[in-house]
């Protein structure tokens, strides 16, 4: 036991793992949000269609770029994808008026336009993670023009389940209007404590895990990186939160067809691009049933589901993900690139680029149907895409550098 305690003390003296360190450029900045482009590999992107990552509003984007060796973004770049990510930033007091339309319609539309323009492509593959997936599918249903394919990573679409968050927000006494009127932006502490209630004993379990694994530096680096991210939450813009609760949680608007964006109805049947829904068996934040159901509703004939073991975060950032989930996603996009253009999966990587070779063979995505869609035959000059001026993306305005310890159950 004593050696375990010494192990914990030793861990306390080690430097904290560096999170979100894959080099990126800021290609667009508007209000608090930014669009980052990860610096393409030296040989330039290998695929013609860029990938836009849409993270959740209430967690930082760097869960998809956690730390070297455990970074989805870094891995994608190494495979030759041209990767963009939205960093939603930290809302200020005035952003209590930022509504769902501002985010799911205007911001994502702008991010897609800028990403496509920068990449020299007509469309982009869109990946949404958790609430980011909900935003992405809403956007794709309303504005499908620039969405080459849609990948939904543990993205809730049906909100009437028996989970704690769904039950609580649907109680009569939960007055979301009063909450927004009083708090403005919904404080991250409130959201964090709600997520804590999903597994009230989780912090104890983590304490025991630390004692158990304190000798394992590699494990502890990953653990601390996730904890750093999990403790780095952001508040939810008030007006947007109100719509989220009233229209999605309470009215189940996407399933009932009653949800509207910028005044126009959102119908999931209008999503006709290839769709991949990824669900996780042990996801306590987004039960897989509420994420998988999207495939029953979208109008696409090229739709697939990938169901994996693991939880909401671990299954996305673990070492196992780099051998299963990540290659599956890359293959999904590469196949759609090839089938839509008939031209590229573009210029093969130069043989000198060590990052180019896939680390592992990609597992086949569990296919329900495969359809080659007619798309733009426009060839892309892949080498030209890497020409942006290199400046490492600084943390966005208002980002908290200070780490708050002790929290880790989180929604994304």
């Amino acid at each position: 036991m004593l050696d375990r305690l010494f192990g914990v003390l030793r861990q306390a003296q080690r430097p904290k793992p560096k999170v979100g360190s894959t080099p990126a450029f800021v290609v667009h900045h508007e209000n608090k949000w930014r669009l980052l482009r990860y610096r393409p590999r030296a040989a330039g992107p290998a695929y013609r269609t860029p990938v836009l990552l849409v993270p959740s509003l209430i967690n930082r984007h760097y869960v998809l770029d956690l730390m070297p060796g455990k970074s989805f973004a870094e891995w994608l770049v190494a495979q030759g994808h041209d990767v963009y990510v939205i960093d939603w930033g930290t809302p200020s007091d005035e952003d209590r008026f930022v509504d769902f339309d501002d985010i799911a319609d205007r911001a994502i539309a702008r991010a897609l336009r800028v990403a496509c323009k920068t990449a020299g492509a007509e469309q982009a593959h869109v990946l949404g993670y958790c609430l980011g997936g909900t935003l992405a599918v809403i956007h794709a249903a309303r504005r499908p023009e620039r969405v080459a394919s849609l990948t939904l990573l543990a993205a809730p679409v049906a909100f009437h389940d028996d989970g704690l968050l769904s039950l609580w927000t649907r109680t009569q006494s939960f007055d979301v209007a009063a909450l927004v009127a009083g708090a403005g932006n919904v404080p991250w502490q409130l959201l964090q404590s709600a997520f804590h209630m999903l597994r009230p004993t989780l912090n104890l379990q983590k304490a025991v895990t630390i004692l158990d694994k304190a000798w394992d530096d590699e494990f502890m680096d990953g653990f601390l990186a996730i904890e750093t991210w999990g403790s780095d939450n952001v508040s939810f813009p008030g007006a947007c939160y109100r719509t989220y609760i009233e229209e999605l949680y309470r009215a189940d608007g996407l399933m009932q067809g009653s949800f509207s964006l910028s005044g126009l109805p959102v119908r999931l049947e209008n999503v006709r691009c290839p769709v991949l829904a990824v669900t996780f068996e042990h996801d306590t934040i987004v039960p897989w049933q509420s994420a998988a159901v999207v495939l029953d509703r979208v109008g696409s004939s090229d739709k697939h589901r990938l169901h994996l073991a693991g939880g909401h975060v671990g299954a996305v950032v673990s070492k196992k993900a780099s051998k299963g989930l990540w290659p599956a996603l890359s293959t999904f996009w590469a196949d759609r690139d090839a089938s839509s253009s008939g031209v590229e999966q573009a210029a093969p990587a130069a043989s000198t680029d060590r990052e180019a070779a896939p680390a592992v063979p990609a597992p086949a995505v569990a296919a329900t149907s495969v359809t080659a869609t007619a798309g733009s035959p426009e060839p892309a000059s892949v080498a030209a895409r890497a020409a942006a001026a290199p400046t490492t993306a600084a943390p966005s305005k208002g980002h908290r550098a200070k780490r708050r310890g002790g929290r880790s159950q989180n929604g994304s």
Partner: protein
Amino acid sequence: MFGWDLTKQYFNAWENQTAKYLEHWLKSPLLLEPAGAALSAAMKSKAAADKAAADFWGTLGLPTKRDQERTLHALNQLQSRLLDLEERLADKQP
């Protein structure tokens, strides 16, 4: 080592059972309804206090915090519309 493994096993069993029990209890309307009511009441009080403060500043002819927030938000919206226009202009250029 054996002692630690055994302790961990007991802990895991306890944690699993306790979590299940707590999760079940936390989902009970007997807890959720009062929790929602308490949160709503606290927020209504805060909104009332904010309004009282705003009224006070208003009587002095000064802009309230909410006024400033609205103005800043309007500026952000304007910036967004300008970016829209810039994009359209750029698209029209040959």
